[in-house]
Subunit: 340 residues, 2 copies
């Protein structure tokens, strides 16, 4: 695919989806739409990702050069921002496909549906679960593949990034590896997957299991993208369903350096790391025993020395047998050594 | 309401929904439809519930005497059985409303929708979540009501029954009590509620929280109907979401006597009772600390002496400070003493 990514007014910090695609997708990003920064380019803001020019609108692009418009923003609530309509309309009129991870399904938008029909475009609402999902059968532990799940101390601490980095590096090292994407960004990057946080709650474990069953025969290692946190006041159900549905052989505990309260739920303190370890392992034990075998600390934005100190502290919290790193800053070698 | 309950070929054991309504609903059950047992009556099969004559079909009833047909069966998969169509058609043509808890929504059935429209009938698909559900805000712990949640060692061990018995007896003892129904049978009995196992997985905790917020100002005690089990290979996500969404002050651990493996997942052994206690309490602790304060053992079908022994064993497993009983066999006094 040759993509344009829409990220108006939110790039880079609040365009997590677009940034993930820039970082991990094999598809070419032809341009990024951000009306706040026309004339600049992606690498002016984020160094270590695919570069692309930034333009104000679809109208500023040579529409022959792109075939897909991807909505790279996931606003809280997942609504469609009407200021994006003109860009989406322009894309469809030029025959471009659409990819979006909003709660508001673009397929259900009358204008977009009509335009897509007229111009032969596909609209992929990544967050719309397929209709055949059902309850888990409890078979993941019997699959012929090593299953590695990222778990976290909160949402947005780096589970998707850690999964992608581990899988990419393991693959480059010659291992037979697949990512099991469970959230919108992972699904966009991989081009398939179940949006586990949007499925019927009874099917949470089943939605993960279905993907593992599909891939287990073809790969030796399956890296499952985790979601949320097991003590999150709102999202723990999804986390728990993924843990039991995937029946992982290894856990990688992801955390953001110096974070002490749950994001957006600041009256909830994070418990000690050992509590997270005990809960993830204790909860898995009666279904399929597993252990936290590695730790991934997100030190984004910290000075080198401060980051190093935070990584050391995290290592101490997880104990001497559990290697710990920031996978972006220091790579994945130490973690892959124990995981593969 | 004056109800007819459809329970063809499944009454009583496999018509859990119908049985729950017969046991706990304030509405009058005029007749039960079971083509296997016409001419008998409900109390021939189950002693301690509302009695009603059993007939073969809606055609055998004086349709003036009923105003609602309730589907009292929840088959695995939740499909509509086409052998029920004639009864549903007859009911709608007579102007009766419909209540159903199937995954197949009767509102989406073209014939039923048209008949309901023509004859002015309401169709209530209990398992269809309302559209305004959203993520939990994490406010249940701040509500001005004592919250009591039933948790279990598996599905179908008696959480709904225990919730209903405790709430009814507490209410009769003069306490200001409401039930927070989370499953189809509870919702049918109470006439409202969110089907927590059918909501978007991200909204699991939010669907419970919404109900608690709605009732907390008007009642002193809220008895939340739990679902599933925290180590169920398929349903633990719902269990976990309810635990964190409801932030209970007390837990009642429900178990079926002599059960040792997970129903329909027989290769999964139940862990020791202490593991269940540790997991429920440990998982709740970082969000809102709570303890297992009582145990409810389901000894249905056991001889008196065997049942007594099982209750004693269960009491030993939960420890000296945790009263234990079979609420159907022995009443709720011992449990309410510690819970209220």
């Amino acid at each position: 695919m040759r993509l344009a990514i829409l990220a108006h007014e939110k790039f880079p910090e609040r365009a997590k989806t677009g940034l993930g695609v820039l970082r991990y997708s094999d598809d070419e990003v032809v341009a990024l739409l951000d009306r706040d920064n026309p004339g600049r380019e992606v690498n002016d803001f984020v160094a270590d990702v695919q570069n692309a020019p930034i333009v104000s609108s679809m109208g500023d692009l040579d529409l022959e050069r792109i075939d897909t418009l991807l909505i790279g923003i996931s606003p809280i609530g997942g609504a469609f921002d009407e200021t994006w309509r003109e860009d989406v309309r322009t894309a469809l009129e030029a025959g471009c496909d659409l990819i979006a991870g909003l709660h508001y399904f673009l397929n259900d938008d009358e204008e977009f549906a009509a335009l897509a029909d007229e111009h032969g475009c596909d609209i992929w609402d990544v967050r719309k679960p397929h209709d055949e999902l059902t309850v888990a059968e409890g078979v993941a532990r019997d699959l012929d593949a090593e299953i590695i799940l990222t778990v976290g101390t909160d949402c947005s601490v780096g589970k998707m990034t850690t999964t992608m980095e581990l899988a990419r590096d393991a693959s480059e090292a010659g291992y037979d590896v697949a990512v099991i994407p469970t959230g919108q960004t992972g699904i966009m990057i991989e081009g398939w997957g179940n949006p586990v946080d949007r499925v019927v709650s009874d099917f949470t474990a089943g939605a993960v299991e279905e993907m593992l069953v599909e891939k287990a025969d073809d790969y030796d290692y399956l890296f499952v993208e985790g979601q949320g946190s097991i003590v999150h006041p709102a999202y723990s159900g999804v986390t728990c369903g993924i843990l039991h549905g995937s029946m992982p052989d290894s856990l990688v505990l992801c955390h953001r350096a110096n974070q002490e309260v749950i994001h957006s739920y600041e009256s909830y303190s994070m418990p000690p790391m050992q509590t997270y370890v005990d809960l993830y392992e204790g909860l898995a034990e009666p279904v399929h025993p597993t252990t936290v075998r590695a730790g991934a600390l997100n030190t984004a934005g910290l000075e080198e020395e401060v980051a190093r100190e935070a990584i050391e502290d995290y290592g101490e919290a997880l104990g001497p047998d559990v290697p710990v790193t920031d996978v972006i800053r220091e790579g994945t070698d130490d973690l892959l050594e124990v995981l593969l």
